[in-house]
Amino acid sequence: MKLPADLVKIWAFAARSVLINRRNVFALFEMVFWPGISIFSVGLLTKFLQLNQETVTFVLIGAIGMNTIQIAQLDLSYSFLYDVWAKSLRHKFIAPISLSHLLLGTGLVGLTRGCLVFVIMTLLCTTLFGMDLGRPGFTGLVIFLAGMFLNAAILGILVLALVLRFGHRAEVAAWAFAYLLFLLCGLYYPVTVLPAGIKEMAQFVPLTHFLDYFRHFYGFPRVSAHPLLYGFLESMLYLAASFLLLKITLKSARRRGILLKLSE
């Protein structure tokens, strides 16, 4: 079977990401250890605070969402960062590839790793803290996951644009950038508790709407009347905008010599 060249190029990035993850023991840490610590600490905090089961679930959904998004977006960020660390970025961009090949290939691995983290975290939450994940049903779960991966994609692409614009100085964004989003979207609390001004800003974060949608299955009132509509609309808009920004940044990097600087 001869795969079309575009599929081969996408597969190139996916296969490389798999190899990188397989060779790096810390990739396993990323998937199990840190998310596990996060679930344990948040779960135990809910026990200490003697929260009712619905509120425990509310908080744990946030913790699961955070870890899933973080892992999925990291794979996109790594698609550049590994080349920056290996000083091999120029080899990639002298090849006839487009950003879509790169994003789809690494995104595929990010999606798989994100799903795995989601399953592991859910199992932990169910067995240790009695969370009932079956309540939203299969469709609700798939929609929630889709929302998280869209957010991860937006974050990942923005990190790539930052690395291409600011070079090594922006590497930290790969890990830190997501927390700004988590602060706004009401990860462990309803957005209604956010201060005025920031509360309104939260409505422009698509993750806010997906959390809102998923939490309503557990009896929490919806903040927005149409969370899925706003969530997907904002996600698509931001995804298109971030992709455009990345394309512009890449062109600017070719003009400013950043690709060469990051390969030295």
Binding site: R16, H91, I94
Partner: protein, 324 residues
């Protein structure tokens, strides 16, 4: 082993590289003046040639090669490579060229074979075509024993060989080598130069290389261009450049019975002459064709033939002459 590297490279009348008035400057920050690296470079490279860009560090060699390989956009000027515009047709052009950077950098945790497979796939190679190409390159560059070694475990020489192997993964029609032997020991550098020559001779591959190693340029290049402060100071075949700049081979004649009465300046091919006691120092344009007639001219006037010492002109002189 028969090389299966070259496509039927069309020896068209248009040059492989045709650059006109390339300018490039880099910003040094908001409030500092930008640094002008290329200041109107014109360049023409014929198909099938090994063309050398020479110049000291900071002359703009890597900038020029990066523009021609589409990694960098020029500020002004235009260039076509293999008949394709480097800005408008960059995507198409990337299919047909490849580059080896001055130092080999690949992902440290991937093996030699995995690195080659990855880059092969980036050029759309899959299945048997990819497997065949990878095997061929591993064999060609004696990398088969190291196929399962991760990049971080390779010696500098092996890394450089992998770098060259990677450049051939897409069977390019034009190869850019940015200081290909930089950092290699003498033996490995010689081996690599032989590989480059072999590739050019056996496949007709056009090669543009940058170097500040003059011996390397002498050994490899049919034509060179000297880049000096962002401008091409001189371009041409090495002997032509020597002639143009009045540089030539040195001939030292030692006469035991004194210098005969010969007007050395008027002898054919003599660029300069200096008489010191019983010795005559001549600079000739081409020693191989001038020496015998010159000695025949002197013979009737000198009872004994002179002792002859020859020092052929080299790029070192040429380089210093241009760099002055």
């Amino acid at each position: 082993m028969t090389l299966a590297l070259s496509p039927a490279i069309a020896m068209s009348k248009t040059p492989a590289i045709d650059a006109q008035g390339l300018f490039k400057s880099f910003s040094n920050g908001c409030f500092k003046p930008s640094k002008e690296v290329l200041r109107g470079v014109d360049l023409e490279v014929a198909h099938g040639a090994i063309f050398g860009i020479l110049g000291p560090n900071g002359a703009g060699k890597t900038t020029l090669i990066s523009i021609l390989t589409t990694l960098l956009l020029p500020d002004r000027g235009r260039a076509t490579v293999l008949g394709l515009d480097i800005v408008q047709d960059a995507g198409l052009l990337r299919e047909r060229i490849n580059l080896a950077a001055s130092s080999a950098h690949f992902l440290w945790c991937l093996t030699v074979e995995e690195n080659l497979r990855f880059y092969g796939r980036l050029y759309g190679l899959g299945g048997r075509a990819l497997a065949g190409k990878v095997e061929e390159l591993l064999h060609l560059f004696d990398l088969t024993p190291y196929r399962r070694a991760t990049f971080d475990r390779l010696s500098t020489g092996l890394k450089q060989r992998l770098s060259l192997a990677k450049t051939l993964i897409n069977t390019p029609e034009l190869l850019f080598l940015d200081e290909p032997t930089s950092g290699l020991d003498h033996e490995m550098a010689v081996h690599l130069r032989q590989e480059i020559l072999r590739l050019n001779r056996e496949t007709g591959l056009t090669i543009l290389l940058t170097t500040h190693n003059l011996r390397e340029a002498e050994m490899l290049c049919s034509e060179v261009a000297f880049l000096k402060r962002g401008r091409l100071a001189a371009t041409g075949a090495i002997p032509d450049l020597q002639a143009r700049l009045g540089l030539g081979d040195h001939l030292n004649l030692i006469f035991k019975n004194g210098v005969p009465r010969v007007d050395f300046h008027r002898l054919p091919g003599v660029l300069s002459c200096e008489i010191r006691g019983s010795q005559v120092d001549l600079v000739l344009d081409r020693i191989e064709s001038r020496l015998a007639p010159l000695l025949r001219e002197i013979a009737p006037l000198s009872p004994e033939p002179p002792e002859v010492r020859v020092k052929e002109a080299d790029l070192e002189e040429l380089y210093h002459e241009i760099a002055r």
